[in-house]
Amino acid sequence: MKPTLEMYLILSAVLFTIGVTGVLTRRNALIIFMSVELMLNAANLTLVAYSRFLPDISGQIFVFFVMAVAAAEVAVGLAIIVAIFRQKESVDIDKVNLMKW
C-alpha cells in the first residue's frame, strides 16, 4: 500500500503548525526565524505532494522559487539579526525591544 495524498497533506499541516508554534512562543530571534523556515518547508511539501498526485509540474517549479526566496530571505534576515546583536549583545526579542512588540 502506498501513502495517499491525504497523508502527505496531514504531515505538512502538522509541520506547519509546529512552525507557527515556534514563531509565536519563542523569544530567540534565530529560533523564530528557523520556525519560519519550517513553515515554508511545510508549504513546499504540500506543493510537491499535489504536484505528484494531480499530476502537474508547476508545483515543483513553485518549490524551486520558494527555495530562491528562502535563500534571499535568510541572508537578509541573518544580516539583520547580526546587526541587532552588534547593538544589543542579544537576540532575545523581548530584551531587544525599545518599542512595544
Binding site: V23, V36, T46, S58, F65
Partner: protein, 500 residues
C-alpha cells in the same frame, strides 16, 4: 517562441529600473560618491522610466509572458503611481540622510529594486509572480527599514518587520499551495477562476482554507486589522523617507494585487470572502482612527492614519467582488491611491523638515506649534495635506473617497460606507489638530532649516497637485477609469488562446 517584443514592452519599466539601479551602484563605486549626483541620476532615470512606461504601454489589455503578468491600463496607472512614489522618496532623501558615511548609491539601488518588486506585485496575474513580487518588495523593505545603524530603533523596526513579514509570507505560501492543489494544479488567476466555477456549489474545504490563508498574508502586507500591529513600530523606527515610501508604495501594490486576485481568481467565492472583508474593513478603519487620536508622535499618527486608509481601500476591493461594479471600484481605488501617495509623502516631507530643528529622532506633535508664524508656506502645505487626508473638499483626498464610496454604495455596501463616513469625520479631528497647533498656538521650538531645495520642490509639487486634483479631477479620473475598465474582465488565458 517563449516571448516576443510585446512581452518585453510589458516589462520595459522594470528593465529600465534594473539598469538604473546598476548605473547608480557603478557610479558610486567608480565615479563619484556625491549624494547630489547620485540623487540626480536616480531622479533623471526615474523620469525616463516614467516616459518609457507610458510609451510602451499597450493599447489593448493583454497578458504577457504566458499569463504571468498583465499589461493593461490598470497596471500602467499603478506603475506610474509607484514610480511617482519612488521619485518623491528620492526627492526627500537628501534632506534626511546627512551622515557622511551613508552610502547613497546602495540606498537608491535598493529603493529601485524594491520598486521593481512592487510593480511585479501590481501586475501579477499568477500565484508565482504574486509571491515573487511580494518577496522582492519585502526583502528590500526589511533592509531599508534598518538602514540607520546608528539608531537602535531602526534596527529593531527592521527585525520586527522581518520576523512578522516572513511569518505572514509563510501563511501566504501555504495558502497558495492549498489553492494550487485544490484547483487541480492551476496558478494563473483566470484559470483558477475557471477551475473554481466548475466546482459549482460544492466548494472543497481545502480551497476555502487556502483562500483564508492567502488573505491573511495579503492583509498583513496592506496592514489591515488584525494584522496591523507591526506597522506603527516599523513606521516609527524606520528612516523617515523609507517610512514615507512604505506607507504609500507597498500598500498600493498589495491592495492592487488583492483586488486583482479577488476579482479575477476568486469571484465565485465572493460570498465567502465578502463578509470576511466587510468585517476586516470596518474594524481596520475604526481601530486605525481611534488609536490615531491618542498618538503624540507624528510618524505613529500617520501610521495609524494609513491603517485607516487601508480600511477605506478595502471598500474598493469589496465592491470589486461584484463583476458589474468592478471597473468603477478599481478606478476609484486608482484615483484614491494617486491622491493618497501625494498627500502622505508630502506630510512626511514636512515631518522631516520640522524634525531637523530637533535632531533627536523624536517626531513629537508639539514641534508643530506656531509653525505658521515662522514657516508660513510649509504650514500652508501641511494644512493642504491634512485637509486632503481627512477627505475635505476641495482636495484630491475628497474625490478619492467620493469615488471609492460611491462605487461601494452601488455594490450595496451602504452600512459599511456609513461607517467609513463616520470614520472620516473622526479622522478630521486628529488631522485638523495639527492645523490648529500650527496656526493657533504660540511657537515653542525653532523651525528647521532646509538643506536641500529638492524638499521644497517636493512639498510645493504635492500641495499644488492635491489642490489641482481637487478642483479638476477629470483628467486623472479618465485615466483611472480606463485603468479600471481594463481590470473588469480578465483577458483570455493561454489555454483559451491556443485552442482558438
Amino acid at each position: 517562441m517563449f516571448f516576443n517584443l510585446s512581452d518585453l514592452f510589458a516589462i520595459a519599466p522594470e528593465i529600465c529600473l534594473l539598469v538604473l539601479a546598476a548605473v547608480v551602484l557603478k557610479t558610486e563605486l567608480f565615479f563619484t560618491r556625491k549624494p547630489t549626483a547620485l540623487q540626480g541620476i536616480t531622479m533623471a532615470g526615474l523620469l525616463v522610466t516614467m516616459g518609457v512606461t507610458v510609451m510602451t504601454a499597450s493599447e489593448f489589455p493583454t497578458g504577457a509572458f504566458n499569463g504571468m503578468i498583465a499589461a493593461d491600463g490598470f497596471t500602467l496607472f499603478l506603475k506610474v503611481v509607484l514610480l511617482g512614489v519612488a521619485l518623491l522618496t528620492t526627492l526627500m532623501s537628501r534632506e534626511y540622510f546627512d551622515d557622511a558615511a551613508f552610502r547613497h548609491g546602495e540606498y537608491y539601488a535598493l529603493l529601485l529594486l524594491t520598486t521593481i518588486g512592487m510593480m511585479t506585485l501590481a501586475a501579477a496575474t499568477d500565484l508565482v509572480t504574486l509571491f515573487l513580487g511580494v518577496e522582492t518588495m519585502s526583502v528590500g523593505l526589511y533592509v531599508l527599514a534598518g538602514l540607520r545603524h546608528d539608531r537602535p530603533r531602526s534596527s529593531e523596526a527592521s527585525l520586527k518587520y522581518l520576523l512578522l513579514g516572513a511569518f505572514a509570507s509563510g501563511f501566504l505560501l501555504y495558502g497558495m499551495a492549498l489553492l494550487y492543489g485544490s484547483t487541480g494544479g492551476k496558478t494563473n488567476f483566470a484559470e483558477i477562476a475557471a477551475a473554481i466555477s466548475r466546482f459549482g456549489d460544492e466548494t472543497p474545504k481545502v480551497l476555502l482554507a487556502g483562500v483564508g490563508l492567502i488573505l491573511i498574508g495579503l492583509l498583513f502586507k496592506v496592514a489591515a486589522f488584525p494584522f496591523h500591529f507591526w506597522s506603527p513600530d516599523v513606521y516609527q523606527g524606520s528612516p523617515t523617507p523609507v517610512t514615507a515610501f512604505m506607507s504609500a508604495g507597498p500598500k498600493a501594490a498589495a491592495i492592487a494585487a488583492t483586488i486583482r486576485l479577488m476579482g479575477w481568481a476568486l469571484p465565485d467565492l465572493a460570498a465567502v470572502w465578502g463578509p470576511l472583508l466587510w468585517v476586516v474593513a470596518a474594524l481596520t478603519m475604526t481601530v486605525g482612527n481611534i488609536i490615531a487620536i491618542s498618538q503624540k508622535d507624528i510618524k505613529r499618527m500617520l501610521a495609524y492614519s494609513s491603517i485607516s486608509h487601508a480600511g477605506y481601500l478595502l471598500l474598493a476591493v469589496l465592491a470589486a467582488g461584484d463583476q458589474s461594479i468592478r471597473d468603477l471600484a478599481a478606478s476609484g481605488m486608482l484615483f484614491y491611491l494617486a491622491a493618497y501617495y501625494l498627500m502622505n509623502l508630502g506630510a512626511f516631507a514636512v515631518a522631516i523638515l520640522v524634525n531637523r530643528a530637533r535632531d533627536n529622532g523624536d517626531y513629537h506633535l508639539d514641534d508643530y506649534q506656531g509653525m505658521a508664524a515662522q514657516k508660513p508656506m510649509y504650514a500652508l502645505a501641511m494644512t493642504v495635506f491634512m485637509i486632503s487626508l481627512a477627505g475635505i473638499p476641495p482636495t484630491a483626498g475628497f474625490f478619492g473617497k467620493l469615488f471609492v464610496f460611491s462605487a461601494a454604495i452601488k455594490a450595496g455596501y451602504v452600512w459599511l460606507v456609513a461607517i467609513a463616513v463616520l470614520n472620516s469625520v473622526v479622522s478630521a479631528f486628529y488631522y485638523l489638530r495639527i492645523v490648529v497647533l500650527m496656526y493657533m498656538k504660540p511657537q515653542t521650538s525653532p523651525a528647521g532649516s532646509m538643506r536641500s531645495p529638492a524638499t521644497a520642490v517636493l512639498i510645493g509639487f504635492c500641495a499644488v497637485a492635491i489642490v489641482v486634483l481637487g478642483l479638476i479631477p477629470g483628467g486623472i479620473r479618465n485615466l483611472a477609469n480606463s485603468g479600471g475598465s481594463s481590470v473588469a474582465i480578465p483577458p483570455p488565458t493561454v489555454a483559451e488562446v491556443s485552442t482558438k
